[in-house]
């Protein structure tokens, strides 16, 4: 549904060619029906849902695989068939090749789309599929293998005349004189590496020697392969990648670039297409080199060639990803292509249906990766839990949300904590960013921590808006870690006025009873309220007076006019303060006046009391918080079925620590906080009584 909307939008943008595109796409839609009858998606979550959507459009039946905990997942419901392939841990389910091959046989799926991650770049899986005569939607084994090895891919790139980072190729032996040839700093990498493992930066000879020793040890233990390579380290680079699409007939296209420089811990957070940094010449040069590389490895399907680009627009080949990328929707938005559809067509053996000249850049698209994680802890530590409320901002125009979860879904420890990819597009970057702001404000996610606050801060940050970004953006802009939005005086007044108005609206509503009571209700004639609101360390006296349906609020000696519909049940509240309209979310409130409001993406804690109550609250005792979170006691008598942790393990809040069986029911005991396990006082098979100490955290 969303995809169709995207295409229509693009057509609209391209204006004059609309009729023509419409004709071609209808013709091709018919044509593309002749691909596969049934396709298995060897993945989960949003990407599985994404692939299923295109399959539905193409009239292909779909088979989903899932682990036991995913039995109720969205991708399982969307697919025509679904088969369980094992228990929750990925090694036993989504990476379980034997089980998946079994499902393919049983369901007679003709092709497999691997999505990203899991088995998407596994040459063994591709080989096994080929031997069974099942089509792998992706490049052939040779290309996967060639590009999966950092040394080999670099050699190939060099031969294809692709710019590579100066360095030593092939197996690197420690040479104390290697670095002068490159100039410091240098980067030492494991050849088989990935995910930052076995990677080190050295700034002089001494560090090079040390780095070599550590990296080779790490590489040997992590990958069973201690080969290293050393190359010039590009400081402060941008991460820009070129999407390529190639068929089995030697044709290849480049579908423009994606800028993915906003990263934390080598994981992308915000991506966009096109990049503000590239001029048409650089773009073409990068595109042509990417296509040259694709052709050199006889690549077919969609792939991505990643480059590092330095400040003088020199670009260097980094690696090639032989799969569909997470951030592919931004390319789809600006080109109007459905990459999954193209991949399926190409896999069936059809030639590409576009020429390089057909590939447009229509407008601008931005993608934010919405994660279930706490951005206040090193830009994002995973959070788990149940999505008690969830509502995507699809009512905002030009928004696409790729997600694989819904209200009630569990975000578990077993899988990637990504909630969704939020994509907005517009005729230019400013428009796309404005819509992103609106979309983030209108996104309702309750029950787990999420990184909306960080995303919103990034996209409105002056440096980002100007396009002055690099892979160091987050640590540079937030050297002391992310602390949430910093309110200006005006914003603080707006927040206080909104919170105070909400409080009064709530108070007024609680006096409205329906029906005719036996004892008449004393109607309050009150039209003004004196409140005291605590926000952060400050206490603010606020006067509210009712003025028809709006409130006149006095904060810091300034009068603000607050209007809204005051629908107190809606998760989203549209509030206008002195003419500025904002969408805010009241996350919680209680009788004691504690209120949490999401305002400009960041959650603020406030306490709203009447002036009298606030004055009296000075006499209330200060209470030291009692910490029971670091010990876990058995809440009931029963038998310990399993203990999932051992001393020294790090557990996150909400993670299962052990399982106790009582009344033939298994009860999962969870950690009340994130921390290290200090001691475990029980083992599987033990019988425990109520109140027995099970596990201590540090």
């Amino acid at each position: 549904m969303v995809l169709v909307k995207v295409e229509e939008e693009k057509m609209h943008v391209s204006g004059g060619r609309k009729a023509c595109v419409l004709f071609i796409s209808r013709f091709l839609l018919f044509f593309s029906l002749q691909t596969f009858e049934k396709l298995l998606i060897a993945n989960r979550g949003e990407i599985a849902c994404r692939v299923i959507k295109t399959c539905k459009k193409m009239g292909i039946k779909t088979v989903a695989i899932h682990s036991d905990v995913d039995a109720n997942a969205v991708h399982v419901k969307m697919a025509d068939e679904a088969v369980c392939v094992g228990p929750a841990p990925t090694g036993k389910s989504y990476l379980n090749m034997d089980a998946i091959m079994e499902v393919i046989k049983k369901t007679r799926a003709q092709a497999v789309h691997p999505g990203y991650g899991f088995l998407s770049e596994n040459k063994e899986f591709a080989r096994r599929l080929a031997s069974e005569g099942v089509t792998f939607i992706g490049p052939d084994t040779h290309a996967i293998q060639a590009m999966g090895d950092k040394i080999e891919s670099k050699l190939l790139a060099k031969n294809a005349k692709v710019n590579t980072i100066p360095g030593f190729d092939g197996v690197f032996e420690l040479l104390s004189n290697c670095s002068p040839l490159l100039g410091y700093p240098v980067m030492i990498k494991a050849s088989a590496g990935g995910g930052g493992k076995g990677m080190r930066i050295a700034w002089d000879d001494e560090e090079t020697r040390e780095g070599f020793r550590f990296s080779s040890q790490e590489a040997a233990s992590s990958f069973g392969d201690d080969r290293l390579l050393i190359e010039k380290f590009i400081d402060n680079p941008r991460h820009i990648e070129i999407q390529v699409l190639a068929d089995k007939h030697g044709n290849a296209l480049w579908l423009n670039e994606r800028e993915c420089s906003i990263q934390r811990r080598n994981q992308k957070v915000v991506e966009e297409a096109p990049s503000t940094f590239l001029d048409p010449e650089t773009r073409r040069a990068m595109g042509e080199q990417a296509v040259a590389l694709a052709k050199a490895v006889k690549y077919s399907s969609a792939g991505t060639v990643e480059f590092l680009v330095d400040s003088s627009k020199n670009f260097y080949f980094l690696e090639m990803n032989t799969r569909l990328q997470v951030e592919h929707p931004v390319t789809e938005c600006i080109t109007g292509l459905d990459l999954v559809q193209e991949m399926i067509r190409v896999a069936k053996g059809y030639p590409l249906r576009h020429k390089q000249a057909d590939i447009p850049i229509n407008g601008w698209a931005v993608e934010c990766r919405v994660y279930a994680e706490d951005p206040y802890k090193s830009f994002g530590l995973p959070s788990i839990g149940k999505l008690s409320q969830y509502q995507e901002p699809l009512h905002v125009p030009s928004v696409r949300v790729d997600s694989g979860i819904q209200q009630g879904s569990d975000i578990s420890i077993y899988y990637d904590p990504m909630i969704s990819k939020l994509i907005t597009y517009g005729s230019n970057r400013a428009e796309a960013l404005k819509r992103m702001e609106e979309a983030l404000d209108n996104y309702v996610i309750r029950g787990v921590a999420h990184n909306i606050s960080l995303l919103r801060e990034v996209i409105v940050h002056p440096r980002f808006v100007q396009g002055d970004i690099s892979t160091k953006f987050l640590p540079e802009v937030y050297p002391d870690g992310f602390k949430g939005h910093k309110l200006t005086d005006l914003e603080r007044r707006e927040l206080l006025a909104t919170a105070a108005s909400l409080y009064v609206a709530e108070q007024l509503r609680s006096q409205r009873f329906l029906g005719t009571p036996r004892i008449p209700i004393a109607k309050s004639k009150r039209s003004s309220w004196e409140l005291s609101v605590r926000l952060g360390d400050g206490n603010y006296p606020i006067a509210v007076s009712k003025d028809g349906s709006s409130f006149s609020v006095e904060v810091d000696g300034m009068k603000l006019n607050v209007t809204s519909e005051w629908n107190l049940a809606s998760p989203l509240l549209s509030v206008t303060v002195d003419g500025t309209q904002r969408t805010i979310q009241r996350l919680s409130r209680n009788a004691s006046g504690d209120t949490r409001i999401q305002f400009l993406g960041t959650v603020y804690k406030l306490q709203i009391l009447t002036k009298v109550a606030a004055e009296l609250s000075k006499y209330m005792p200060e209470k030291a918080a009692e910490d029971t979170s670091s010990i876990l006691r058995s809440p009931m008598p029963g038998a310990v079925v399993a203990v999932s942790v051992k001393p020294g393990d790090t557990v996150s809040e909400g993670q299962e620590i052990c399982v106790i069986e009582a009344m033939k029911m298994q009860n999962s005991m969870i950690a009340a906080k994130t921390g290290k396990v200090k001691a475990v006082h029980c083992k599987a098979g033990d019988t425990v009584g109520e109140g027995d100490l099970l596990v201590e955290l540090e």
């Binding site: 036991d68 039995a71 109720n72 149940k386 999505l387 008690s388 819904q406 209200q407 009630g408 879904s409 509503r509 609680s510 006096q511 409205r512 009873f513 329906l514 029906g515 009571p517 036996r518 004892i519 209700i521 004393a522 109607k523 309050s524 009150r526 629908n567 107190l568 049940a569 809606s570 209680n590 009788a591 004691s592 006046g593 009391l609 009298v612 109550a613 004055e615 009296l616 609250s617 006499y619 209330m620 005792p621 209470k623 809440p635 009931m636 069986e661 009582a662 009344m663 033939k664 029911m665 298994q666 009860n667 999962s668």
Partner: protein, 514 residues
């Protein structure tokens, strides 16, 4: 006379600062009797009674002017909470008079005059049909008055009993309450406490030490934690005086004023036909896995608001108030997360008392069932699980308010009958597709029927009984519903059942197995 006049004046809160004694009491973090009333009631709505009443004791020098205070040791009157009438008494642990330094009115102890004042508001409340709220902070009987004081207690107890089931009675314990002072709260419908500053006990730690030689602190013996988690005497505890009073205001909105009034209906912004998609997946696929019943309750209630009663006691059953399309309902649910949601002595008693309150005050009951049965074992049998379990059965059977039941998963054995089943005059009984209505779990059943000789018997039993169809075919559940439509179904039923009338045979009163 001069003192009386000063009492008539409004008391500025700022006067508190001038008073040495209050400053020294600050560590207790307690408000004065009048400050409490000020926060509890709507502004300017308090009408005070009996401000000129004085105690009548003349022994032990009590008749000296120094020992007489107008109004004695309690403030009484009526006022409004969100516009609705309530009668209030607030015991004076400390009297705030700016002109007099350092005095307490006998620690809020109960004199004959004190009791008389309370009785007066209770009589009026019963006559008019409005709730009574007691802000208790009393050291017990006024020993100087002897039997006069005891008589005063009895007068209050009698009125507590006569008002029971006529108007809601709420006690908020805001200081140490000992001896006779604890029985009046125990007779009321709800007892709330303030953490760290309130205690309830028959006899204090000193007497305990001299009689049983036990060393125990006030907090251990009768603090908020003890009574909300261990004894079940109190229904909920709050952080401090202000927190407690503000919560009490909110709680008051759930209650009808008397047994003559229907459950109140508030203005509601949450659509009654809202679908709740997450309920379709809330019950885990494996029937041995637990889930949180509170997730279900929050997601169906108006604006996810649920005022839980006794949240820390007998946590295997959840009870509390919520609203459905604005109308107050009482919710009872087994909690699979705690002890598998089984019924034991404490949870049966907790549930029974709540059901009877709702029935007495016309509050519809919504019951969520996921119960594996009654808890077996000697501890339970010796403790009288039969008698106590029967209380819950009695309460549900006796209730004539609208009763809606949703079986989410297990409804096994006698516990199925108990949990507001069709057979106990349930008005609308629904089952989710995950429901299993059976005498017991398949494994146990097969062991008894076949003595373990039949290999495929378990699967057969599961097929036959581990689903809602046998019950639905017999009309014991009215419908098998899509979980996501639960809120909508309940709201529709409540609209229809609002005019329900049902009666039981004439009796003086029933004889619940106490």
């Amino acid at each position: 006379m001069f003192l009386a006049l000063t009492l008539l004046l409004p008391i500025p809160v700022s006067n508190r600062k001038k008073n040495k004694r209050i400053l020294s009491e600050k560590s207790y973090g307690k408000l004065t009797a009048r400050e409490r009333i000020l926060l509890l009631l709507d502004p300017d709505s308090f009408d005070e009674y009996d401000m000129f009443v004085e105690h009548r004791c003349s022994d032990f020098g009590m008749d000296s002017n120094k020992n007489k205070y107008p109004g004695d040791s309690v403030v009484t009157g009526r006022g409004r909470i969100n516009g609705r009438l309530a009668y209030v008494f607030s015991q004076v642990w400390f009297c705030l008079l700016s002109l007099v330094t350092d005095f307490t009115v006998f620690g809020g102890s109960l004199s004959g005059a004190h009791a008389q004042k309370i009785c007066k508001v209770m009589d009026q409340a019963a006559m008019v049909g409005a709730p009574v709220i007691g802000l208790n902070d009393s050291g017990g009987a006024r020993i100087q008055e002897g039997v006069e004081s005891l008589a005063g207690y009895a007068d209050i107890f009698l009125r507590n009993v006569l008002c029971s089931g006529v108007v809601p009675q709420i006690s908020l314990i805001m200081g140490p309450c000992a001896g006779g002072a604890v029985y009046s709260p125990a007779l009321t419908d709800f007892t709330f406490m303030v953490k760290d500053t309130s205690y309830l006990f028959i006899t204090g730690p000193d007497v305990v030490k001299s009689v049983t030689n036990e060393d125990v602190t006030q907090e251990q013996l009768g603090g908020a934690k003890t009574h909300t988690a261990v004894s079940g005497v109190a229904h909920r505890a709050f952080e401090n005086d202000i927190d407690a009073l503000l919560n009490l205001r909110e709680f008051f909105n759930y209650l009808p004023l008397s047994n003559r009034d229907p459950a109140p209906v508030c203005e509601c912004h949450d659509p009654s036909d809202r679908l709740v998609p997450e309920l379709d997946t809330v019950v885990p696929v494996e029937s041995t896995k637990a889930y949180d019943m509170l997730d279900i309750i929050h997601s169906i209630a108006d604006e996810r608001e649920f005022f839980e009663i006794m949240p820390s006691y007998a946590r295997n059953i959840v009870v509390g108030f919520a609203r459905m399309n604005g109308r107050t309902v009482g919710i009872v649910g087994n909690q699979p997360k705690v002890a598998s949601g089984c019924l034991d002595i404490n949870s049966s008693v907790k549930g029974a008392r709540f059901v009877r309150f709702c029935d007495a005050f016309n509050i519809p009951l919504i019951t969520f069932v996921d119960v594996p049965g009654f808890l077996p074992g000697t501890a339970q049998e010796y403790g009288g699980i039969i008698r106590h379990g029967a209380k819950l059965l009695f309460a549900f059977a006796e209730a004539t308010v609208p009763k809606i039941t949703i079986i989410t998963r297990k409804a096994y054995g006698g516990a199925y009958d108990v949990m507001s089943s069709k057979h106990l005059r349930g008005d609308a009984n629904y089952a989710w597709p995950t429901a299993e209505v059976a005498v017991m779990g398949a494994k146990g059943a097969v062991q008894i029927i076949f003595r373990g000789k039949e290999a495929n018997a378990e699967a057969e039993y599961v097929d036959k009984f581990a689903n809602p169809f046998p019950a639905a075919m017999r009309g014991f559940v009215d419908d098998i519903i899509q979980p996501s439509t639960t809120r909508m179904r309940i709201c529709h039923d409540l609209d229809v059942l609002a005019s329900k009338t049902q009666s039981s045979p004439w009796k003086k009163h029933a004889n619940i197995p106490l």
